[in-house]
Symmetry: D2
């Protein structure tokens, strides 16, 4: 059985590492601020002092870090992952990073003799705790296969999508569809309400038929109340639409509907809604 | 307990009347071609010779007719519904008709002393059999309330939406959102596949997350196979988008995303896809 | 030489009839409020008491009326054009009316034994005075040919476009292009100014190159000043875009760019700009 | 009076340098392939062996090079402009280059002690010969003012637009408007022709009114004939639309109409029209 390492024990990482421990795996943990390790250590995790130590002593090291800068630092700093990884050991970065960062880490790990998998996740705290994340993996296939027993404890779906970069690409496709669904939803609500229909009834009817989906269920009441506590910031959605359209440009794929959605989100940014939840795009429509 | 009448025993009507009978209600049926009545009569339905006879002898008469012309004829012909309805009895037209037809029937019934409810349904054969239709009612509120015991046997949701016309309006809003979701879905699939992702994996990932919905589950495989057996014809979807946008024009509601979707469906019509299922819009995108 | 009649002596009609008189033609005039006839009568025009009198005594009667209702009344009222037109005499309606009105008048005139030409004009007061209007004619070809000597005095271009309705259709095409050019212009000005360029310089550069056109020259300064004295009301432009898109729907012609422009004009209407000049659409873009 | 240098004597450069010579200025020329210098030398131009020699011996050196790579090489190679420019002499690059290239050359020239102006031109062979180019200048204001006597011989308009980069930005704005006008024009032609109007008449009517512009006059007949000899390649127009939209994204300017035009041009690329003239976009619309 593999020995697993886990770097980065924020809300997500803690829940994910906890699921590995719970399943009976041997887990070595590290976090830049030590106190976040304590609950896992109490439950049997081994504690390491540096990312290097984790990478050197485990077959597969997982990372769940806050942002691209943290992901880079953990790899490339002195006593970072690269200095410990060699001998074909595996490194699986589950942080959400841009393509360039992912590519740089991939090359670094391989040059150091390791194997690399990008594995950004879809889902937040609850699915992390329940072990029902969606994990979009891409990179080294043999590493993917070795990691399956761990993925099974952390996620409900963990497709292997091809070479490094395809994980991020899949996320763009999903988010582009999400942006289009949201603008369609908001336009329908605005049209219906202007036409004398009750917003609550529109949502109930949608949720009873072929279009029913968790996003409409979750965001619909926010839109009717006009309150948008941020779960996924509007500016990030607009950025993903922009990147998806740029990808379409590069691949020769016209995207007339995504382009219209992007302009609607840009109008929302112009109205000062960048930091609100992306459902606030309804204010640019109504 | 009310006596119910049922006019029009096609695939849908037969299933719906059957559910009323099954529930123990007294049901009087009529159909222009007599043989379609036989199975219901065998199971205890009373047979009438004219729509007039049904309307005159039942507290509430339901109709489920093929198209606006049939809906008009059944009401306005000699021995039609109007000649039997008087005395505050109820007439509930569940056919899918345009606003003008609905309005004309509404006025006719009321002038003849009856009460009227429009009640177009969302759902096809299977939900009709299972009694899980979505019934969008509008018109006479007192009639709606009296009909609830019958609606409970035919549908899983039967909101009352206001004055005559609001049922059709709700259907437009739902279909407009459906058209927008379909174009977003097809653009995402095309972009992903051009970018080297597997179509089947894209659908699986969508179906595991917040965007999961029955339409993607049902239409996705059709799109991947490139076969489009018609369930909802593309030309009808484009017509509904056009009507929704016209409604937006009238109400002063900009609909930039629906307008883009409409143009994509128009391009599909231009490619000769009018009679195929509306999911065939993907051919105008790919 | 033909005897000409002229009905409707507002700003436009007065200038147009005056050009006919000036050219030496015999002109009989009528206007519902008599005083508007005086200057033309002083210069030699004959005065008639009713539209019927004009139509009965002239070979060709022109009309330039305020709106569809006035155009209908002048034809169909007692002592209207229909009662005097018979014997193959000609009636040329130069008012801007919708297709149904034009069709109704066309049928009425022909049933009364006359010949009909629709001839809406493009151009306002100055071109009317200068005899440089653009006259979009359609209907009876023989009447068109007989009217050429009169058209030569009123317009600089007067193409014959086919059967009744094609004149109005041409106007829709031109106005649809106009709406698209205006939104492109406004987006360019907004983008450039947000990017630190000077609006005046942008216009000068545009006016020196292949895109130079009288509309940019005329509307550009209005946009920079933010003042929009109404020459062509924004709501009429949006209506023409809507009608052009409806025509495209009917003919199977996708119009993705016109649809985007239409939504921008709808947004402008929503901002309360309906009665301002259509160049005020820039406020919905900026 | 200034001594002028001229680097790059292709079709454009030859015509431009010729106009300087014609006006009586002392002009020193250089071209990588020597024979292109001969006609100018016969007419009195001095010949130099390297860009360095030109830059070192002239007050102001103009360059009109084929592409960004040529523009970089002429500056940065051994015996390039940088090695001769010092002492506040001026370098004016009139080539069409991207912003990064322009920025790199600007920094290089200034670091070497010179002054820099970017000055991309709008117009092709004929305006170059006639001295009626539009020259979009940006960078060093004092250099601009000194160069005015030369600009007067080469162009009819030569606005100073601010700091380096604003020349390229102005060109993007103009081309974005051009793309929008072209799609509006093509949609109008397609709609009108499908509606039974004559394409030639549509163009004549447009050219008689407020929308008349040289581009419609030049491209209209190409579109009616369906032949598109390349003057400005379609792929470059689509690239400029993409860059303009990216600029809008950066500046927070929604551009719904430009986005629709961009998608139409992308569809044209997908149809294999990249290398044809940008008027061929009509094939993606019709």
């Amino acid at each position: 059985m593999n020995k697993y390492g886990f770097l980065g024990l924020g809300i997500m990482g803690n829940a994910m590492a906890s699921n590995l421990l719970q399943a009976g795996f041997e887990v070595t943990v590290w976090n830049r601020t030590l106190e976040k390790c304590s609950s896992l250590v109490e439950r049997g995790a081994r504690l390491a002092n540096t990312p290097r130590e984790v990478a050197a002593s485990c077959d597969i090291t997982f990372a769940m870090l806050a942002d691209p800068a943290a992901a880079m630092q953990v790899c490339f700093e002195a006593d970072g992952v690269l200095s410990g990884i060699g001998d074909g050991r595996g490194y699986i970065d589950m942080s959400t990073v841009d393509g360039e960062t992912s590519q740089a880490i991939s090359v670094g790990i391989r040059d150091a003799g390791g194997r690399f998998l990008e594995a950004p996740v879809s889902g937040t705290k609850k699915p992390a705790e329940d072990g029902t994340l969606i994990i979009l993996t891409a990179g080294d296939r043999s590493l993917y296969e070795e990691a399956v027993p761990a993925f099974e404890k952390m996620g409900k779906l963990f497709p292997f999508l091809g070479e490094t970069g395809q994980g991020a690409r899949m996320k763009l496709v999903v988010n582009m569809i999400m942006g289009g669904m949201m603008t369609a939803f908001c336009e329908g609500l605005s049209l219906g309400q202007k036409g004398g229909l009750d917003g609550q009834q529109i949502i109930e009817i949608l949720m009873s038929g072929a279009l029913a989906n968790p996003m409409f269920a979750g965001k619909g009441p926010m839109i009717l109340k006009g309150e948008f506590p941020t779960s996924f910031p509007l500016k990030h959605m607009q950025k993903d639409l922009r990147l998806a359209i740029a990808l379409g440009d590069q691949l020769g794929q016209p995207l007339a509907n995504a382009a219209a959605a992007n302009e609607t989100f840009k109008r929302a940014r112009q109205l000062g809604l960048s930091e609100e939840d992306f459902a606030a795009v309804c204010k640019a429509i109504d």
